[in-house]
């Protein structure tokens, strides 16, 4: 029996454990010192600090938005902190980032909500800290924000409903009014994707031979666009370009290039290239850099106590092969 006990409960290693703790601490210190050297002096300048919390930083759309925001910040002489969660759909993490940034005494917050309802509590916290909040790209849920008393200084974004209608009208005319359509939706319950889908459905509903035969979510992501589309391979708008590009690869893999028209949303660089190559029929262009620029400008105006427009619609246009 003592053999069992000895095996089950291994001998004490407390010296090792303490050593391990020190080594862990050292590893952390080493990595943070590296970080500290890297960050540059953003806190000591005395200039206003504007935080821009994006949905993600691994999509060209938000990279463009970040660029626009940085240009505006430079011009206006404010410090800009850009942060995003690892994953676009991670609302809890986005909320944590906002809470953490509020601790640093930022002067204004620009935010692309990862969830229209879920970030409302974070906006309320920003309200309590008395800083102006500019919402970008995705609207807050009106019911949730009025119920929680969340206030925003301004909204900047594309008219996604109109974008969906543009895509619908394009498919109707390009197909001569006869098409079987598969839709790759964004994250369900997500305001931008839902608006696009509504616009699209409204645009095609009066053309009886344009039928939506399948409509499934691919969560905004390229690899999911590939997989979902491979499964429903049939003609076809996607609610954003990343999913559309995934779908194009699926079409290519099935040897059906050119037989299926793909319409994306965002007109990111890869999508523009695909349109020139002829593998994508069209994409509804948004102008994220302009959104980023306008949002930072409005945030700065708001923190200076100047009047800002409550709702800015950034232009939108259809990109097709020239």
């Amino acid at each position: 029996m003592s053999i069992l006990v000895a095996q089950v409960f291994r001998p004490d290693v407390r010296h090792g454990a303490a050593l391990k703790g020190c080594a862990t601490a050292l590893a952390i210190v080493a990595s943070l010192s590296f970080v500290a050297c890297n960050r540059g002096g953003t806190t000591t300048s005395g200039r206003p600090r504007v935080a821009f919390v994006l949905k993600t930083l691994n999509s060209p759309f938000f990279n463009d938005m970040q660029r626009g925001a940085e240009d505006a910040a430079k011009k206006l002489g404010v410090d800009l902190v850009v942060q995003a969660a690892d994953r676009e759909i991670d609302v809890e993490r986005q909320m944590q980032i906002i809470e953490n940034l509020l601790q640093t005494g930022i002067n204004a917050l620009c935010l692309t909500p990862s969830g229209s309802r879920e970030v409302v509590p974070a906006v309320v916290k920003a309200n309590r800290a008395n800083i102006p909040v500019v919402i970008v790209d995705t609207r807050l849920d009106p019911a949730a924000s009025s119920e929680a008393g969340a206030k925003i200084a301004s909204f900047t974004g594309s008219d996604n409903y109109e974008g969906g209608r543009i895509a619908g009208r394009f498919i109707t005319s390009a197909s001569g009014g006869r098409a079987k359509v598969a839709v790759l939706e964004g994250i369900p319950g997500h305001e931008t994707g839902d608006s696009r889908l509504r616009g699209f459905r409204d645009a095609v509903k009066d053309t009886p031979d344009v039928q939506i035969v399948a409509s499934q979510t691919a969560n905004w992501e390229r690899d999911q666009g590939f997989n979902v589309f491979q499964n429903m391979l049939q003609a076809h708008p996607a609610c954003n370009d990343m999913m559309a590009l995934g779908a194009i690869e699926a079409i290519r893999a099935a040897g059906k290039s050119g037989k299926i028209r793909v319409v994306g949303f965002d007109a990111v660089d890869d999508a523009r290239k695909a349109i020139e190559d002829g593998t994508m029929a069209a994409s509804v262009a948004q102008f994220p850099d302009e959104m980023g620029r306008v949002a930072v400008e409005n945030a700065v105006h708001a923190l200076r106590g100047e009047a800002v427009p409550p709702d800015v619609r950034v232009r939108i246009e259809l990109v097709t092969k020239k």
């Binding site: 029996m1 003592s2 391990k20 943070l32 970080v35």
Partner: protein, 338 residues
């Protein structure tokens, strides 16, 4: 024959409870304390460093902020610690969190009184966890495979129940579970401490707790000494399902919304907190005191990197490096002691 067997078993149990057992338990607690101290040194070092680097870190408001943010991962990590100490792994915790969250939300939305809705949600989480346990204990499936399957099953179920959409908008009374304060302390922190106190007591002071260590240390020997291993193993996964459901309750109240896509990658955070906290992935050793410190290290790191305005990409890199460093050192030390 029968008498001899039962006599041997009684003897085994007697010895497990007897002097050797007590010595072993004392050693265990001692070692647990040593480990906790080691990991704690890491946490303190990290806090000191952040205190030097930014004036925003060491404030009461930020300390409460960090602990509040850590609470959800910390609670999921309770069940994960039980599972890993028992020599298993639970990849389904994030999906179980999503499933119990949407069950809770749908029940509240269809007008159930909050206590019933919470009970239903905990029931679903625990039942799915027990199903994991049965598959592993009775079906002899590797825990990795069983919980990987459950990860997808529970995620699919959560999406089906809600049609893929978040369910949101609850009463302010319900939301105060996560947004309220008890004597100035945010309620998620109070919940977390209470759960850790209870779970640590069970793990270190009860027979069930000792069996969990025993199963993780040497399952065969534990079984031969007369412990109903399959039963206790099943319960361990049930505990993990339950703690996921408790975390779901807090997350749902915090975001005023339950999302079927919530909790993605939470298993990785929980495993990281557990392992940084000194629990061995091979089972048989570890403590909840270590786990809560591990969870705090992750929370403080994320908070501190946000405060410093570090690039989001660099944050991922740093967190990953810390996890690897912690486990690497653990392995090296094990090799050293042979």
């Amino acid at each position: 024959m029968l008498t001899a067997a039962s006599q041997a078993r009684r003897q085994a149990e007697g010895q497990a409870r007897g002097q050797t057992g007590i010595q072993a338990r004392a050693g265990l607690r001692f070692r647990g304390a040593g480990r906790r101290f080691g990991t704690l040194a890491g946490l303190v070092g990290l806090c000191l460093l952040l205190w030097i680097l930014t004036p925003h870190f060491l404030t009461v408001a930020n300390a409460l902020n960090v602990m509040e943010q850590t609470s959800i991962n910390a609670i999921v990590a309770v069940g994960m610690t039980y599972v890993i100490v028992s020599g298993g792994i639970d990849l389904s915790v994030g999906s179980l969190l999503a499933l119990s969250g949407v069950v809770l939300a749908e029940a509240l939305k269809s007008g159930w009184p909050a206590p019933f809705a919470v009970a239903a949600s905990f029931g679903v989480g625990a039942a799915a966890g027990l199903a994991n346990g049965l598959g592993i204990a009775l079906g002899r499936l590797p825990p990795f495979i069983m919980t990987l399957g459950m990860m997808s099953v529970a995620r699919g179920a959560a999406l089906l129940v809600t049609d893929g959409r978040p369910v949101s908008g609850f009463s302010s009374g319900f939301r105060s579970l996560a947004t309220g304060h008890v004597l100035g302390v945010p309620s998620p922190i109070v919940f977390t401490l209470a759960i850790y106190a209870a779970a640590a007591l069970v793990l270190s002071r009860t027979r069930f707790g000792r069996y969990v260590y025993g199963i993780g240390g040497n399952e065969e020997a534990t079984r031969l000494s007369g412990v109903e291993v399959r039963f206790h193993k099943t319960i361990v996964y049930g505990v993990s399902g339950l703690t996921s459901a408790i975390a779901a309750l807090l997350l749902t109240a915090r975001l005023n919304s339950a999302q079927p896509i919530a909790g993605i990658n939470y298993e990785l955070d929980a495993i990281a907190a557990t392992v940084i906290g000194g629990t061995s992935l091979t089972g048989g050793e570890g403590s909840l005191g270590g786990t809560i410190v591990g969870a705090l290290i992750m929370g403080v790191l994320r908070n501190g990197l946000n405060l410093l305005g570090v690039s989001s990409f660099l944050q991922q890199l740093v967190i990953g490096a810390v996890i690897i460093a912690a486990v690497l050192v653990d392995l090296m030390l094990k090799e050293k002691r042979g």
